[in-house]
């Protein structure tokens, strides 16, 4: 294995990563309790949005119903901890497996329904979820909800307060999940998943088993969303209850919004998008409660018209545009170089090809 060269780019990346890590770890030490709890919910939501990114951004299956999986995970944890005395972390595998199963069950009929129709079906599913909660109110507490036991730090971490503990635990889960999903996307499986999005017929011709991949992606995506929901509920410092109003169609729309705002087919996009949808409505609501929702809808629309690649996509374009203008774009330079070489005879032979490639 060759040693990784220390290119300037890699150094910058490394420094940025370290700075970011320090900042992220410092947040619960810096902010007040409820703000820290807000950041914790951002992290939990970003996990769910990552699940959606896998399905919708990378695999092209549109889901307006991930709020329902989020809710299943949330209620699973709530019911098991509140009514059956389970410890919080032990409910996570249950929530994940349950959502995996439901995701596969939804993914199967989804094979035959695509595009806008799938969006419709998932929308209906998400609308039904709070009704299901109400229907089985004996178990779920109905519209009043269930009180969730506090997620306290254990003895070995007694230096941390409740909100700090929740933050670090959920952050740990998030880091692991993001790394795993990133590796998945970069693997052969990931390439197959993306190939299906870009052209089902072509993918099938190339030997990708459509049904297996699509259903599996649906299941995994739902499982990740369920993980997000389960962790969301453990953020008990500020909110120690579940109730259906947290898991309505609005939640699904929020996820979709976070996805496209951050950047639909990116790994870090969900984090950016989640920060946006948690903090911006609060600030805009302070300015004017009713108009803030108009602005939110407007932002979604404008986003699709102007920055279909989300903020990250927009940054990419911005960077490319600025570099080009500064004359420091590698592509431009190579083109100019090859043009210059074409004018004057080149002692070495034919001009390089790769400059014109990408």
């Amino acid at each position: 294995m060759t040693r990784l060269a220390l290119t300037p780019r890699r150094v910058v990346l490394g420094v940025l990563a370290v700075v970011l890590a320090v900042v992220v770890l410092y947040i619960p030490q810096y902010f007040v309790e409820f703000r820290t709890a807000q950041f914790t919910s951002v992290i939990a939501i970003s996990i769910a949005v990552l699940g959606l990114a896998l399905l919708t951004g990378f695999n092209g299956q549109i889901s307006v119903g991930h709020g329902a999986f989020f809710g299943v995970g949330a209620y699973t944890t709530a019911i098991l901890t509140a009514d059956h005395g389970w410890s919080h972390l032990s409910t996570v595998p249950v929530a994940m497996i349950l959502c995996l199963a439901i995701g596969v069950m939804v993914g199967l009929p989804a094979l035959r329904i695509s595009g806008l129709y799938l969006a419709l079906v998932t929308l209906a599913l998400a609308t039904l979820f709070p009704l299901v909660i109400q229907k089985y109110s004996d178990v779920t507490g109905g519209s009043t909800g269930i009180g969730v036991p506090d997620f306290e730090p254990p003895d070995w971490a007694s230096g941390l307060t409740e909100d700090q503990w929740a933050y670090y635990v959920i952050l740990a889960f998030a880091v692991v999940t993001f790394v795993l999903v990133r590796n998945l996307i970069r693997s052969r499986v990931g390439r197959a998943i993306i190939a299906i999005r870009d052209g089902e017929v072509a993918a099938e011709v190339l030997g990708v088993n459509l049904a297996r991949y699509k259903v599996a992606t649906f299941g995994i995506s739902a499982m990740i969303a369920g993980l997000g929901g389960s962790l969301f509920v453990m953020n008990t410092a500020v909110l120690d209850r579940v109730d259906p109003s947290q898991y309505t169609i609005a939640r699904s729309i929020e996820f979709l919004a976070a996805l496209v705002i951050g950047g639909a087919a990116t790994i870090m996009g969900p984090v950016l998008g989640s920060l946006f949808i948690v903090f911006v409505p609060e600030f805009s609501s302070d300015i004017n409660a009713e108009l803030s929702r108009v602005i939110f809808g407007g932002v979604l629309i404008v986003m699709m018209l102007v920055l279909p690649g989300g903020v990250l996509g927009g940054l990419t374009r911005l960077e490319a545009g600025t570099l080009r203008r500064l004359g420091r774009d590698r592509q431009w330079r190579r083109l100019r170089a090859t043009a210059a070489e074409a004018d004057s005879p080149d002692p070495d032979g034919s001009p390089t090809v790769d400059g014109a490639a990408t």
């Binding site: 780019r9 007040v32 409820f34 500020v238 990116t266 870090m268 609501s285």
Partner: protein
């Protein structure tokens, strides 16, 4: 390619985090630090100190009070479907303005009122409550609307010993002695169930009854208490239907109930389901005695019913109806009409009982603050828990506010049965006011008393 994306992503993240930090500020302190709690605690007698668990309080007892102001906060829906509740605030805002202008505030302290929008979502209420207490530094929370919403905040508020006064819900839950810092306002929905049952037992002892209720604890309060109250009598329940909050078209349920031809129907409904249900009943041949939730009786809701649909509906009240001429010469009503108009602006709807409720709550709050021995949280809470025949705002002269610390946290237990007269345009009283003083906890079915 992915590498470049990542560094851009990191930069973007750092930028956003910096923005948030700038907008929200840090402010985390390690311990409670010096506060005035010891002094305030010393002024409270031991029984109260114990009931209010003063020794385990996190917060600062005099937060939000300066030399000449006192800061009060609330969280309620200001946008979205439930924003109709925001009209309550027009009533108490007008009262606060009146008190600030003409009475010099509360003992020389101008009332500073801050409110945040929660869209009726308990999750947002929880964050709002924390913001109000920790960022805005309010003294107390007031009239937070919604049962689930208050459930989301009462644990934290109790830990921090912040008064959560006069919540805008009639759930029997607020009688819970384990949360001494939260106190409700509305007469409990279960009282209505009992009242309607008693009325029928007296006037039509062999009546058959049907129910249409909302599919949640609110609706269940009516059904369960009613059924509990008719045990052993000849009243028979012949039909029960429910509806979902989101779907206010109850015509199928009414068709179903109409087939039972019950003598009476109890409508545990609220918001837009009220007029649609009345219309649905009106459209059938069924002609039952209609008992309807007190939350339906405002003109904004009843006014939406078809002509004749609301005629004769029976409900309860604890407020003077601005449209009822018997109060034309009443001092408190005159004050409401005059000062409400002066400080509420031209748009305030002074005929609306919702606004009258808000005004009354504002008056109750001011009364509580004024009569507390000092402006500290324990003292104010002690006052709220020991109200003695307090008349405030436009509450009925026969519906004073009464609480008794440790025994009865329900403050509005004297209710008046009333019946709507469409020609007159207001509700006429039926019989004498009914005194349920101290009985709400007994009357409510067990499972409604704990969340």
């Amino acid at each position: 390619m992915i590498r470049s994306n990542r560094s851009r992503a990191f930069v973007a993240l750092l930028a956003v985090l910096a923005l948030v930090a700038a907008a929200c500020g840090g402010g985390r302190s390690d311990s409670g630090g010096d506060n005035n709690n010891d002094a305030a605690a010393a002024n409270t007698d031991t029984a109260d100190a114990e009931y209010l668990h003063l020794d385990s309080c996190d917060g600062d007892f005099t937060q939000g009070v300066t030399a000449d102001t006192i800061k009060i906060g609330s969280s309620y829906p200001q946008s979205g479907t439930f924003a109709a509740f925001a009209e309550i605030s027009t009533g108490y805002q007008a009262y606060f303005d009146y008190v600030n202008e003409e009475l010099g505030g509360v003992d020389g302290h101008q009332i500073e009122f801050v409110s945040l929008d929660d869209g009726y979502e308990p999750g947002r209420t929880a964050t709002n409550a924390q913001r109000l207490v920790n960022e805005e530094g309010v003294f107390a929370l007031f009239n937070v609307i919604g049962t689930a919403n208050n459930l989301a905040i009462w644990d934290n508020l109790d830990e921090e010993c912040v008064p959560n006064l006069y919540t805008g819900t009639g759930s029997p839950l607020w009688g819970d002695p384990n949360h001494p810092w939260t106190i409700g306002s509305y007469p409990s929905y279960s009282l209505e169930g009992k009242l309607y049952a008693d009325y029928l037992i007296e006037n039509d002892p062999t009546a058959t009854v049907a129910f249409l209720t909302q599919n949640d604890d609110f609706g269940r309060a009516y059904v369960d208490t009613f059924k509990q109250s008719i045990e052993g009598t000849d009243i028979e329940v012949v039909g029960e239907e429910t509806y979902e909050i989101a779907n206010t078209d109850t015509s199928s349920q009414i068709t179903s109930l109409a087939a039972t031809d019950a003598d009476a129907v109890v409508l545990g409904t609220t918001a837009l389901a009220c007029p649609t249900t009345l219309n649905a009943i009106n459209g059938t041949n069924w002609d039952p005695t209609i008992f309807i939730s007190g939350t339906c009786t405002s003109p904004t809701l009843v006014g939406l019913a078809e002509p004749g649909a609301a005629e004769g509906i029976i409900s309860i009240t604890t407020l003077m109806d601005p449209r009822d001429p018997q109060w034309d010469d009443n001092e408190a009503m005159a004050l409401f009409q005059e000062k409400g108009r002066e400080y509420g602006g031209p748009d305030i709807d002074l005929e609306n009982t919702i606004v009258a409720y808000g005004w009354t709550m504002g008056a109750l709050l001011v009364d509580t603050l004024s009569n507390a021995t000092e402006l500290t949280r324990p003292a104010v809470m002690e006052q709220a828990l020991n109200l003695d025949n307090v008349i405030a705002g436009v509450t009925l002269p026969t519906s004073p506010f009464n609480t008794s610390q440790g025994e009865d946290k329900f403050l509005w237990e004297n209710v008046q049965l009333m019946q709507y007269n469409e020609d007159l345009g207001y509700y006429e009283f039926i019989g004498d006011p009914v005194d349920f003083e101290g009985q709400t906890a007994e009357l409510a079915p067990e499972d409604l008393l704990t969340p």
